[in-house]
Each structure stands twice: as structure tokens, then as C-alpha cells.
Amino acid sequence: MVPNKGFFSALQQIRQLPLDVRTVTLGINIADCADRNFHKLCDGIYQRIIAKAGRMNAVCGEVASLMGVPVLQRRLCVTPIDRVAQGLSANDFVNVAKTLDGAAANVHADRIGGYATDVQHGMSQSAKQLILSLPAALTQTERVRAAVHVGSSENGVNMEAIALVAAMLKEAAEATAHRQGDAAAKLAVLANDSTGHPHLTGTALGDGWGDLVVHVGIGAAAIIRHALEQQSLENPRARLDELASVIQTAVFQATRAAELVGREIAERLGAEFGSIDVTLAPTQRPGDSVVDLLPAMGIERIGAPGTATALAMIQSAVRAGAAFASCATGGYSRIMLSVLEDASLAAATQSGTLTFDQLCMAANSGANGLDLVCIPGDTDVATLSAIIADQVSFAVLNHRPAVVRLVVVPGKQAGDLVSYGGMKGSALILPIRGAGLSEKFIQRGGRLPPIR
């Protein structure tokens, strides 16, 4: 980015920027839809979503056309269902999930979050029923994404909840064995999400966001890669701090464009503007992955020594650029290594350069937990619990949010290739070293105390 080379040069820099908004998430407060009458509850939720989000798709299209900045995904999130619907059975919760799914389909949203519960201290009867409903709810719906918040730095980790969620995760995968366990990919286990991080998968509308709020998320990998490649043409031997500046500038520009689009959408929908997420999550376009940034920095492939340092530098520069661009960026910016949605990451697993252990390491150097990692179908529940617990504990220890989405693929072994349609691509089933050796630890149950 060289801003001072005259009008044409400056325009040339700006005009080539691959600007887009990866997600627009409309948060809707449905807390007052709570009703002891189950049918009134579902009807109230459905009508509220239609009333508030009915124009979202059209408005996103209008603003994208006006600004010339594409909006790639439209999402909804609502108040956590376990707060709105108390005293329901697991079967009733499944019908609530179907209500959410139908409403999201009606307004042409790609996903809806909020089928969620917070069990970091312990499980209420309603929370337990919601968790027990997850296999059926995720199997019988398309757009619903579920989340269970199991721990935080302030409150510790609920290991019993993790064990129950892991059992439901495996059950959901087996219920969709004919679709290679894709229901499991819709369930996120969260840590340090007490305020309702608006950009994590499946997350709900958190406290303090008001009745109607628009959040936007940016896929900044493309714009950063573009900037790094430009920099490489001008100075192939640029120092790392110079590269950090280049990344900051690119993120600044992406954030500014996204805020402009987000505020315009919010104004047209009569909503508050919430926050901007500059998470380095992948999109479907080639080269839109954090993996593609590494060669531009001098690391030939992800997983090679130096990967963690490079990711940490990117993470730091992204947050600095986003913070300078807007006061609405919050502290959400993270790297998402969503293997199944990221063609470059998936290719790295297939070529053997990226292992399960390296993904776990990356989670400690800027990445946001383990996301959409395919593991063998015969992985036992205790091992699943232990993997989730490890990631949650890392997050709790480091005071950062985390998401764990494990795709257990029934009938598949380590080394098998699995392919999905839609947003998800193909990936290799990754072997887990030491599987089956943690059962006695998990069986102890209880809670991990808060981190002091």
C-alpha cells in the first residue's frame, strides 16, 4: 500500500481491493415471546422473526447493489432459546428448532443461531432437555445452528456438560450417517462467550444488545493477501514489521467498507448497528484463506515451523488495523481455521502437512479453537469430551473465546477422504493420537474451578 504516488496510483490501489462483507447477522430479541402455552410460544417466535427480519434479504441486496460491495451471507440470531422456553421436553425443543428453521427459511436467511444454552455453572432441567434434543433438532432442520456454552475464565468449566454434549454430538453424527454426519457440524461448543459473541457459530443474541441489532463480519484474508502480494512486488524482502503495517492497512480498509455497509443496512432495517468482526474466516473463493497468507510471508506451507509465529503476527496486526478503523470492532477478531469450509486448509490436511496436533497448536496462537475438523466415526465419547475439554481449557486459561466444532464421520477411518456439498468442501479424516486413553479422567465429571 503506497498511498502517495498521485491520483492514479492511489486510485489503482483502491480499485483493486477485493472488498466484501462476509456475513450480516441480524440479532432479534425474542425474550418477551416466552409463554407457558407451547403453541403460542412457537407462533410468537415465528411471527417476531418474520416481522423483524422479513426485509433483511432485500435490504442486504439493495445496499450491496448500491455500494458495489457484495454481502455473502445473511444470518439471524435470537435470544438463547433456553431462556425463552423453560419447562419443555426434548421433543418440544425440537419443534422450537423447526420453528426457527421455518422462520429463517421464510426470510431467506442462510443460518439462524440462538438454539443455545449456557451451562458453565450447571445444567437446569430445561438446559438438559435442550442438549438432549440436539441430535433430533440438528438432523431435522437445515438452517439452525446450535451452541452450548460450557465454560469461562470467571466460572470454570462444566465437565459433565461437556460429556453430555459430546454424547449428543456423536448421536447427531450417527443419525445423519447417510449425510456423513453433517448434523455434528452444526453444533458448536463455546467457551468465554458470556456476553454472546455475535460472530461465533450458532451463538445467540447476547445480553445488552437491545431488541434489534445488525452485526457484520469480514473475510479479510483476500484483501490481506492482495496487499501482501502488492508489497512483495515492491519489496520482496520487506521486514516483518513492514508486513504487519501492510496487513493493518488492508484490514483498516476492509473494516471501513464493512462498517459503511453495515450501518446502511441497520438504518434501513430500523436496527442498531452492533459490531464488526474481522475474523480471518474462509469464504468459498479460491485464495480466501489464512493459509494463503503464509506463502506471501515466506512460509511455504501451513504446519511448517514458524506457522504459529506468523499466525500470531497476523492476529496482532488484524486487531490493530480493525481497532483503528472503527470503534465498533470490539475484541472479536480471530483466525478461524475452519477446515471443512476452507479449501486450502483441507488441501493441507490431504497432503499430510497439517495434522490434528498442529491444528491444536494453532488454536493457541491466534486461531479460534478447533473448527469443522473431521475425525474418525469410531472415536469414543470420552475422547470427544477430552478434545473439547482441552480446547475449552486453553481458552479459559488464555482468557479468549473459543469454538469447537468436531465432525464425527460415521463409518470413516483416519486417512479417508470425505466430501460435502454446499459451503463445505472435502477434507481428510484426521487421526487422533491417544484416542481412548482419557476415559477415566472424563468419567470423574464435576467442574474445573475458575482460573485464578
Binding site: Q12, Q16, L19, S65, M67, G68, R256, L260, E264
Partner: protein
Amino acid sequence: MPKLYIMTVLAANRTGILAALANALDELGGNLRDVSQAVVHQFFAMIMAAEFPDDQSPEVIADHIGAVCRAFGANVTVVDPTLALGMEGNTEPTHKERYVLTLAGRDRPGILRFLAHRLALDGIDLVDLQGRLQDSTQTFLSAMELAVPRGVDALQLCDELRHEFQSDGITVSLQHRRVIAALAHPEPVGFNTAIP
């Protein structure tokens, strides 16, 4: 009551042309209301709207400016907008959004012709145009500001132009002025983005 004229001045681009022009305007009691100036291939070109005392005739204005700027070979035209032909159908102002369209790539005949016809189809005004051809590589970069009627889909228009020029290796970008402003200026975005 001052009277408004539209004037163009084409002259050799040498130091002092603007000073000479300003002197002439001052001596005529003129006052600039709107002006746009460019230098192309050593030629200075300016189009302006200026007010003059109502006793100044357009012939006197043109003659005086021509005389003062004679050393620069100035060619001056003065038009009374109220008498100008072709202005009767002007239905401005309708609200239009401002965009910056840029094209870059290998030069070939007919690019501007296609572009102008395509933009006219959607009622799009081309309000500013700058372009430059690099002789050594025969590549060009052109930037133009467009006034686009509401309802025109900028993404679709951009896709259409990209498709048209793709086979020639010409890249196209269309960005709203507010996006350009958001990237170029550090003030808060979205709170007060009204750009004239």
C-alpha cells in the same frame, strides 16, 4: 443584476496562463461560480461558469480574455446558458448516486464508445473523466465519476462491464463515492456520510 455565462479557454500550458486569465476576469468584473481545469498534452483547458455585470456582452468578454491571454494562444468561447440549444429537455435535478468507475488494461479502439452507450442505457451521467495511456506498454488507466439514478444495480452493472471487457484483459471496478471516502478519510464511517 449579474449575468451568468459558461466559458471555455484552451491555451498553451505555460507558467502564467492562470494568472493572465484571472487578471482578465478581474478587469471584466467577473466572478467564478464553478470551474474545472485540466492539462492534456501541454494544453491547458478550463471550463467555467462565471458571473459578469449585465452590461458586459459575451463578445466583449471573449475578446478581452483572448487579448490578455494572447501570448498563450488562447482560444475562448462564451455561451449564454439561457440561449444555448439542446438544454430544453433538462429535467434535473433527480437524485443520483455518485460512483467512481475505473478501467485499466490494454488499449483498443471502441472502449469509450461502448462504455458511453452502455451508461446512457441506464440514464447514467458521466460527470468527470480522466484517463492516461502509457506509450511504452500501450496500457491505459481511466477513471470516471458517474451520477447513477437510484435503482440501478451497481454490482450487476460492474459484472456486465467486467464480462464485456474480460476477453481484452481490461479490469473494471465500480465503487460508490462513500466507499472511496471511507477508505481515504479517517473520520468515522456511516454517521455523516452525505457527500455532495
